[in-house]
Amino acid sequence: MAGAGLLGRVRAIRVLLDPVQMALLLVLLTILVVFILYPLLQVLAVAFTADGRVSLIHLRNFFARPLFREALAASLLSGVLAVVFGSLVGLPLAYFSVRFQFRGRLLLQTLGILPLVIPPFVGAVAFQQVLGRSGMVNLLLQEHFGVTIPFMEGLAGVVLVQTLHYFPFIMLNTAAALANLDPSLEEMAQNMGCHGFRLFRRVTLPLVLPGYVAGALLVFIRVVDDLGTPLMLNYTKLLAPQAYLRITTVGLNDVDGYVICVIMVVLSLLALWGARRYLSLGEYATVQRGTTGASLARPVRGWRLLLVWVVSGSLLALALLPHLGIAVLSFARIWSFSVLPVQWTAGNYGEILFRTPHFVKNTLLYSLLAAGIDVLLGAAIAFLLVRGKVVGRSVLDAIATMPLAIPGVVLAVGYLRVFHGWDFPGLGQPLTASWLILVVAYSMRRLPYTVRACDAAMRQIHASLEEAAMNLGSNRRRTFFKVTFPLMLGGLVAGGLIAFITSSVELSSTIMLVPRMEMGPLAYGIYIYMQSAVGRGPGAALGVVAILLVLAGTVALNRIFSRGTGTAFKL
């Protein structure tokens, strides 16, 4: 008996050390450690050592500086405010779009995602044109009432732009949770005598909470990470711009920049940690098969319908202002101190298509490469996570998920620290001197999403499908290419598209990592153009291109996979 037990254990160990899977695991781990874990650890190391010893002195210095304390408070505040205001906008829209039947519901569901297709820093410019000190609205106010309202001044402007850009995260995640809610859970409550607002408070709300929290968490993390908006609005008393300014002006060896990075990571982690309890609840309340799919959407009429229309109409109008503003600006020759442009032109498009075509070309190149890398890595990681048996898979999962909590600025700082000043093997120059650094940054930042998409696709393929193929005489490799891969294709393309869409408008890490002007992608181009008054037209034209790119990707995503709008933007 003991012999058999020993044999069994040896066999079990052999499975855990399967050489092919082990090799794959090692390759993946190396990549993830080099490009995610190690740079992050370097940032930590710099922040926590002084004179070669572990020390908290830099941290203490951080809190001793009023500017930094203010930046921390402002970052926290902007995150919280964006969540609060984003909830005020997103929650009613989510409820309307799922629970009410009315004319315009589809429009609401479709338009609700549009704010996300405009990069926030592009939106910032557009808001300046419309709501800024000498923007459309204030000029009209000045003309007719002799007053102006400082919508865009200071932190208020940043929060306004971020709220209207990020609220769809809350709307989409909440709407998905609502739509997935098993109707019998609410019917049962009615059956027990509960209805109206009590029903909402006692049953609906607690069950939708995980979805809502996921959305709110995304908003908070993105807002803290957002570098483009504050830079565009010239409000730098926030963590991300402070880190950026320290590193770019004081230098790569300025310790304060690293400490700020650590603080940002801690903020993200705290948010994740606080939300953890709710996120794990998410799975239970979804529709069970076999229930009569009674749709809980009910028709609204009369004053309620009017209310729904007015509320969703005005919120959407506000959220779509930047799209309008940027479109107008892109055709403007001169647009300052006037309600509408004085002169119109198509020349801005000529400029970006013929004089600086590299911005668009670079974006396509980098984003496609990053998407490709993500699909490969995502598929391999998902394969090991779902089908693999080797030890160490959970480490892989943990590292691949980390970028969710690593702000773009932090990753960029880590890369500069690690890859600066030495020739990368096989490249003949430092990695940071090559445009490849951007591709690496994009692919690592989006990896968690692709891993999730591939993982989900992989889990839907029952192992018996593969076993059936092997049983019929197909070997491992043929089985993979004939059965597994075709079945996974949907998930792979979805993951790739998500990576492509989000990479094409990535700014936080881009600004810090672009080695030379002509290697900059679209987002960088917009940033550069927007620095000068004459550049605003071409900058806006690039913005329109960015919007169209993201829109096309999003439409493709929804067309191909019909998973409902906003798959790319759900946690």
Partner: protein, 373 residues
Amino acid sequence: MGSQPFAAKAAEVRIEGVSKRFGETWAVREVTLRIGRGEFFTFLGPSGCGKTTLLRIVAGFAVPDAGEVCFDEERVTDLPPWRRNAGMVFQSYALWPHLSVQENVAFGLRERRLPAAEIRERVVAALALVGLAGMERRRPSQLSGGQQQRVALARTLVVEPRVLLLDEPLSNLDAKLREQMGHELTRIQRELGITTIYVTHDQEEALGLSGRIAVMDGGRIVQEGTPQEVYHRPARRFVAEFVGVSNVFPGTVREASPGRLVAEVPGIGLLEASPDHAALPQPGAPVLLSVRPEAMTLWGPEEKPAGKNAARGMVRASTFQGASVEYEVLLEGGRPVRVSTATPKGQRPFPPGATVTVCFDPADVILIPPEAR
């Protein structure tokens, strides 16, 4: 409250001419039923025949396009679900995942604004009734399927509903557990004397548990009666074939007198039946004769017991099932029949290929009235 924890104020349920349509499909069509106080009544029918829809109309989740629903003398057709006090147990149990067992069961009592002490007492009693004492703190996800089912039942019973509505409550349980829960359900139902409407597509369940059954097909009630009536006197070919297994022979009446009917069945010849109906079909009229497999016996090729219907055929397949042997026999006229015989002691069953005589008593031939269209 008395000694019973729940003095269910059972109601009589009347469904009068109820119809419900979804787009082009009629889910429920002109259904009229009277379900007595304290009765265990079952809607039985294949999937998609409208059972759930009818139950949801009684619960108030769906409003009928036509017809009325009454609890005792009260017309409830337009009452919203939360004002009906009709307790439902969903097929999926619909336990709230964010609440503990205790909170799930207490939910309806809190809605009724009962004092906290009474709520606690009644929750304990309800959980004891379904055999789950001591599970108060658990979350639904920490319970097995059978336990979840019991919590769902306790949660519904604890509010003392006027009628208990069960939608395929056993369908998510495995076979052993299903039987056990079925017994328990009837015990609790009898103990409480609560009017119960039970929905199932499983004829064994329906026959075993119910006081009366309504067999549904395409949104209509095709037969209503006790399990015995439905099984032994199917009103239609559909009922004969859906409730249990039947061999159905279409034929033409040749002779008809009280207690004796002879019909000619193509490919078999003359078959005799001894109907006890008053309404006999006329000679020349088409009839359907139905015979249950267990009413048939098999004999050697040359044997023919007196006074029985007999037809020769060949065994195509036989399956040993322990207490019985199931045969598929191809009659000489080309018609296959299913035969179920008690396992003969010390004898081997007829092997496939054997020529046999299939016999059955005229008293076991069920006359199915011609379809009313």
